[in-house]
Structure formats: C-alpha cells, structure tokens
Symmetry: C2
Subunit: 316 residues, 2 copies
C-alpha cells in the first residue's frame, strides 16, 4: 500500500426496516469492513488484496472497484487508486456486504481527492457498484453506510435522500443464519403487483415509523414495524422465522423483521439491555435448529463510513 | 336551543395530501361549519335546524346525528342532545364537509359531558358518521378536524393516529369547482391493485413528506407531493386539472393535487404571499373554463374543532 493511503471503517447496514421496502435503511456500529485506499499515479482501479471472503480481484467485477471507477470517471483526477479490503461482513448475509465495500471505496477516494463530491453523488457512484451485486442500482444500503443513522431514499430517479432522526435509545439486534440466500433469488420471489389496500397499510406504516423516529415515540415505532407485502413471501426462505419473531417480541423488542433481502433478521429495541436480552432469546431459539448462526447487538452508527480508529474499532 | 348549548367551529380538511391516500390529512383555518349543540333530558339525538345545505334532519340519516349517537351509546349519559348546523362547507366539495359535521358533533357532545372520551375515541365515533356519507368509516378527514394540524392514520384496524409537525410557513390554497362529484364515484374509478414499483415510489414519498414536515424542509415537502397512483385516475374527473397544476406550480406553489376525492384541488405554499399568488393564478386559469368555482387561502388550523369565537371567526 502506498504511503498516501488511508484506512477506513465502512459499516454494515439494514435495509427496508420492515415497512420501508427499498426506501429505508440504517447503519450499524461496530460491524463493518475495514479498507485501505490510496492514490496511485497509474490511472484505473486496482484491488491489491482481499481478506475474509472469496471475491473477484478484477476491479470491473468487484463492487468496490466498479464504484471507485464510476467516481474516478466523474472526477478530473488523472491517476488511479489501489484498494485493500478486509471483509468482515460475509457476502450474502443481508446486512449490506457489497454496499459496505462500495460505500467505503467511494468515501475514501473522495476523501483523498479533497472531497469534490457530495454525499448524494457518492451514493450514486456506490449504487453502481451495488448494481453489479444485485442487478439493480439499489441505494437503501449504501445511503445509510455513507450518511450514517437512518436514511430514506425518497426517489431513485432522480436520486433523493433524506436523513431521519435517530432516537438515542434505539438498539439493533441481528441474527445471521449461515445459509446462502442470493439477493436475486429473494427478489424473484416477490410479486409485481400488490393490492391497493396493502399499499395503503404499508405507506401508513412508513409514515408512522418516520413520525415515531422524529418524535422518539417508541410505541409508534413498534406498531409501525410491520410489513404485509414483502415479509410474508421472503420469510418462507428463512428457517424458523416465526419462532424468531416470537422470541424477539417476547423478549421486549419493539419489532422484528428481515434485514434487507435476508437471510439475516433484525430486531429493534428500546435500550441496550432489552437488545441484549433479545439477542439471548434469539440465540436460545435458534440453538435448537442445528443451523450455524451469528448474532450481534449494536447501537445505530450516527456517522457512516469513517477513518479507521485502532483504539475504538474492533474487528469482529 | 337549550341554554346549556355551546357554539363551535368545525374546520374543513384536506385528505390524502397527494402521496398519502387514505392516511394523511390537514385542517384548514377560517373555513368550516358552525354548530350549536346542547344536552337535553330526552334520550337520543335531535337535529333541530340545518342551514346552508339540504341535508337530512333525521338523526340516523345525518352524519352528525350518527356520530353523536355512537358517542352517546358508548357513554353512561342517560339524556340526549340537540344539534343545530350552519353548513358553510358544501357537501361533495372534497374538503371534508361530512367530516366537519361529524367531528363537530362528537367534539361538542364530549365537551358537554365533561370530556369522558379521548380524541382517538372521538375519531372513531366521527368515522361512523363518515361511513354514512361515503360507505366506509374513513378517518382521514375527521382526524385532522378533531386534532388540528396535520395527522396520519397509521392504521384503521386498530385505529392508530399520529400528529405530524406543522411547519409555520405552510399555507394552503383551495379551488372548488362547483360541479358534483360523489365520493363513491371517485372511489369506484380506482383500481384494486397497483404495481409494487408504484407502491415503493408512493411510500418513499410519504416518508419524504413526513420527514420534510418534521424538518421544515420545504424543498423535500415539494418533491414529495407526488401521487402516481390515485391522481392519474381521479384527475380525469376534474375539468382543467393539468392546467391548474401548471398555474399553481408556475406561481411558486410547493405542490398541487386533489383534495380528498375531489372535485376541489389544493396547493401548498411556503408563506402566505406565495399562497395568495397561487390563488390568483388558479383564478385566472379557471376563469376561462366557464365553470363556477370558489377559492380560499388559509393557514393550517393547529387546534381543530374549537368553541366558536364571535370576535375572530368569520363565516365565509
């Protein structure tokens, strides 16, 4: 790695948040990829090393590479970049693995170039990396990874992103069943049409969740964490989903749902204690299934991608 | 009217607010019905007088009567009520005429009984009156009429209502074409299914509008006032709709859409001056059509139904 490189932390993210399919997402604290990115005199993007996952080293086949190339093409920088990735987020886990790499790459290159691009432009570049992973330029993971906190993609065309207030006591618990579930598979299970009635309930819940977040009304947040459209279909692909939901809500969680396109599931809780209690309940529930899994409990990451801090960032 | 009666003002309301079909609504200032309501020793509800519109005097056929009866049945009061209604809002105008009568009746009776019921219960009673008018117990007009400001119906079953922050500079302009358009007709034009793609855009806009309202981001409010599902169908029933939109946006309005199920249309503006300018543009646009119409410009009513104040309330 060239001496001009910077080390960064790029967080895992949860997209959808039950009712907000394709529009809502949040960033996690303490769970994310570490990347080192440097400028080089040679044009183009070079992936010099990937640890932690078996991913393509060719820049044009790698989400971080594609995202960084999109940024370089839009900039007037004549040189190139070299990227080293320590994957901590397993690809296919449903907590924004590809988004973390794409967001981290564009954030770091933008930083090294003197920040010529706005966060919204960075989301656009990173979403092109996402398109490589999922077939569509989704931004519901890259937006929270770059902005931190809780974000809303109001519109994809044109791209319009809003930050939503993050209540201080909101904690996230994750359970990642170590099974393979491709985003493209979990998208193909969806139906192209929905009833107007279900649509009304869904946008009522999105309005309720956003209102609950801004007013720190945890009861309203809890009641709004409902998805009658996507979850009934996708949850069929996740072993033990209904038992996990019962375990989470029984432990006092505000709500429970699928993280992104799964297979990871998440719960939101009021306070760290309830989140840790929820984690224990999910562990007890899943221990009986014989499927390997991991769990995490995390606060919400307020900052998004940031410079790596050896003192406070612990690779998990 | 018995001496124990109270005089109240019950505001007109705008339901839907473009993207928030069946869930969002706001209350208007200065436009509303005046009602006088008193307790009587005789059980039941009696409508003693209605001026300003040709509406049924039989309590069980009148929205205010049905709503008041629902409240009385849930209370332990042994007597009855007598209601006098001065309609200022034309039935079928699309600005919550029946909702104003229903909301006003239950608010007044509750007040006279010492406020045994919460605002949410009052919405439930008033929605039963609404069911008489439109065939379904809608609450997107009665909720803002009773709560004031901007409200969200997160869920109808169970009823769940949230208040949304009201940016101080938000003004409403209305144009009411004096044509008849029944709620049941404008509901029957709707399709029972929508594409998932349009649903996603709609709940993105609801999230954007709510976020814009809480953060007083007028640009975001403007971009979110979009409805790709209901408006393309219902606007066909409103003469000159697209010209009116052009006139409103050309005058600087943040957004333009159908009020409730129409035929009234509304625009939201930042500041009273722009709202008045928008009103002039709508008038110029509609003058050429040869259809009688009325226009109003109003702030948002923060309080909802209130005691009538001779000094400040002007019947229009």
């Amino acid at each position: 790695m060239e001496s001009s490189g910077i080390a960064i932390f790029s967080p895992a993210t949860i997209a959808n948040l039950s009712c907000g399919f394709d529009v809502l997402g949040l960033a996690l604290e303490g769970i994310g990829d570490r990347m080192t990115v440097g400028l080089t005199p040679e044009p183009g993007v070079r992936i010099s090393r990937i640890t932690g996952a078996n991913l393509p080293m060719e820049a044009e086949k790698n989400v971080a590479g594609v995202a960084a190339m999109a940024l370089l093409q839009a900039s007037d920088f004549q040189g190139g970049v070299v990227i080293e990735i320590e994957k901590q987020i397993l690809p296919g886990s449903g907590i924004g693995s590809s988004a973390a790499s794409a967001a981290g790459a564009v954030w770091a290159v933008n930083k090294l170039l003197g920040e010529p691009f706005s966060p919204k432009r960075l989301v656009g570049f990173a979403a092109l990396g996402e398109a490589l992973a999922s077939g569509a330029p989704h931004a519901d993971n890259v937006a929270p990874a770059l902005y931190g906190g809780i974000t809303l993609i109001r519109s994809y065309d044109p791209l319009d992103i809003a930050r939503i207030h993050c209540p201080p006591l909101l904690y996230v618990t994750l359970l990642h069943p170590q099974i393979e579930l491709k985003t493209s598979d979990s998208r193909s299970i969806l139906k192209r049409t929905i009833t107007l009635e279900k649509g009304i309930r869904q946008w009522g819940n999105v309005g309720g969740l956003v209102t609950g977040l801004f007013t720190e009304d945890y009861g309203l947040i809890s009641r709004s964490l409902e998805d009658g459209i996507i979850e009934p279909l996708r949850s069929l692909l996740i072993p033990g989903f209904e038992d996990l939901r019962e375990a989470a809500l029984g432990a006092g969680a505000l709500g429970f749902g699928i993280s992104g396109s799964g297979p990871s599931v998440f719960a939101l809780s009021r306070g760290e204690e309830t989140a840790l209690h929820t984690e224990q309940s999910l562990i007890s529930c899943y221990n009986s299934l014989g499927i390997p899994f991991k769990t995490y409990t995390s606060a919400i990451n307020k900052n998004g991608v940031r410079l790596w801090n050896e003192q406070t960032d612990i690779l998990i």
